[in-house]
């Protein structure tokens, strides 16, 4: 089945309770937009859905009922999807707007995700530490980070179950194509509970300070399709480069320059392939485990290639 056909059937299904919408007709409209007018599929889907909403005199929030899919929070990778979640309320934050009833963090075994509930949706309040089955929430995206919005159609069922919350661990593989500034031998602010990296000897919070030496690599893994920013902490950097913090300090001392450390490291690691696993933090993967993938299996690659 073609991608267009799948989308068409999904749209027709969404309206099945409200309108007599035929999948063939939806497909034709999508096809016209995508193939004739070169509209991206996402945009075409939105446009066709909106026109049916108009026909039915419905609001966007009213569709999607029953059609949403049970997912893990870390698997959410598109916006405007209707999904069901089985989650624990990990954290509640202070709403920054009167329109927001609750905002915070939901978690399941795959990791955590931000959620927002609006006053106008008139939903019961969720309690910290409790677990819920949430049906019909909508995904949202801002600068590559995903969240979910509760809405009027969301059903909330408290469940008597302890949900283990995961750390959004990801495994990425690719060539290390860049080492970003702030890598190598760095200095961190020595103030208690402050781990900021000093810029020209200054902490953005605590000002001028002596600083404590540390090792870090902020790198970019690229597999030719996507790029992922990864951070190696001191331990991971030592494993990656084979250079210890003590050796790095000595090298910097000899050169009277800390930047030689990152340069030296770059020569040993840039352009090589790595597979790393670790929790995600914003757009970064924090490296817990790392390996070089080793010799490639040419024979199976050849068999696969011949079949294309």
């Amino acid at each position: 089945m073609s991608e267009l056909r799948q989308e068409a059937e999904a749209i027709a299904e969404q309206f099945s309770d409200h309108l007599n919408v035929d999948a063939d007709e939806v497909e034709e409209r999508l096809e016209n937009l995508v193939n004739e007018y070169r509209v991206p599929l996402d945009e075409a889907r939105r446009s066709v859905t909106n026109s049916y909403l108009d026909d039915a005199g419905m609001e966007r929030e009213e569709i999607g009922r029953g059609g949403s899919e049970q997912v893990l929070v870390n698997d959410i990778d598109r916006d405007e999807q209707w999904v069901d979640l089985r989650v624990k309320l990990v954290d509640l934050w202070e709403p920054r707007s009167d329109a927001i009833s609750q905002v915070g963090l939901l978690g399941d075994e795959s990791g955590t995700i931000k959620f927002v509930s609006f006053v106008t949706s008139e939903l019961p309040k969720l309690e910290e530490g409790a677990s819920y089955q949430l049906s019909n929430v909508v995904t949202d995206e801002y600068e590559g980070r995903y969240s979910v919005k509760l809405n009027r159609t969301t059903t909330i069922t408290e469940i008597d179950e302890e949900i283990e919350v995961g750390d959004n661990a990801e495994t990425v593989e690719g060539a290390l194509v860049d080492i970003q500034s702030g890598s190598g031998l760095i200095k961190r602010c020595p103030e208690e509970d402050c781990t900021r990296v000093l810029q020209n000897g200054r902490c953005s919070e605590h000002g001028q300070g002596e600083g404590e030496f540390d090792l870090r690599i902020k790198g970019v893994l690229d597999d030719g399709r996507t790029v992922t920013e990864v951070i190696f902490d001191r331990e991971a950097t030592e494993e990656l480069t084979g250079m210890t913090l003590a050796e790095a300090k000595e090298m910097a001392m000899d050169a009277l320059d800390t930047t030689v450390v990152a340069e030296e490291m770059a020569g040993d690691i840039l352009g090589r392939y790595y597979r790393v696993t670790g929790p995600t933090f914003g757009r970064y993967v924090l490296v817990d485990e790392q390996e070089e993938p080793g010799p490639v299996d040419v024979e199976s690659a050849l068999i696969k290639a011949r079949s294309i």
Partner: protein
């Protein structure tokens, strides 16, 4: 709203024979600072490439300031890499390297027109590092796979770069497919040879 973290351009995997044919460049917006893309003849845009090959020659072709030209060879052809004072790290890496050596290069495609009107495609490197044969072999396999995937998707309706390539070029994607398969076959044979040598008893 301005985006605080511009998305980094992915580094395409492309063999030299196809890269050197990618003489058509374009921008996705009218903004003066918009990134420039080379159009790969198999139907993809490339603002950055990553490749691994054998450095076979290096020359300082600059008049006053240092300006290095490196020839880096893969199973299908030669990449030409130019690095001068504005690429100090790459230039010093080339200066320090001794041919022959396996090197990994991250860089941007650049085109220039010769006096007779031919478009030449070269690489302005962001980094060059010496690597071993394992890395080189992995790159060949990866690049063959990506090339075959691009050729496979070339005619697809939604593939706008495939369409652009059909309009701008007269190259047959089948050529690149054949080159990718040949690269894999070569690698497979040299693997077998290496295996046999390793298996033979000492002194035979």
């Amino acid at each position: 709203m301005s985006q605080s973290t511009p998305t980094r351009e992915v580094a395409r995997r492309v063999f030299a024979s196809e890269f050197n044919d990618a003489g058509y460049t374009f921008k996705e917006s009218d903004d003066e600072r918009a990134p420039v893309y080379a159009l790969l003849p198999t139907g993809a845009s490339a603002n950055r490439v990553f490749f691994v090959g054998t450095l076979t020659e290096k020359d300082d072709v600059g008049d006053d300031a240092e300006y290095w030209r490196a020839r880096i060879v893969d199973p299908t052809g030669t990449f030409f890499v130019y690095a001068g004072q504005y690429q100090p790290e790459a230039a010093s890496a080339i200066r320090d390297l001794e041919a022959p050596a396996y090197v990994a290069v991250v860089g941007k495609p650049r085109t220039y027109e010769t006096d007779d009107g031919t478009i030449r495609v070269s690489v302005r490197p962001e980094s060059i590092t010496e690597v071993d044969a394992t890395v080189r072999d992995r790159w060949v396999v990866e690049t063959a796979e990506r090339t075959l995937e691009r050729v496979d998707a070339f005619e697809e309706e939604a593939n706008e770069y495939g369409r652009m390539a059909r309009e701008e070029y007269e190259f047959d994607p089948a050529t690149y497919k054949a080159a990718a398969l040949a690269a894999l076959e070569d690698l497979d044979e040299s693997d077998e040879l290496a295996g046999e040598t390793a298996d033979s008893p000492a002194g035979v």
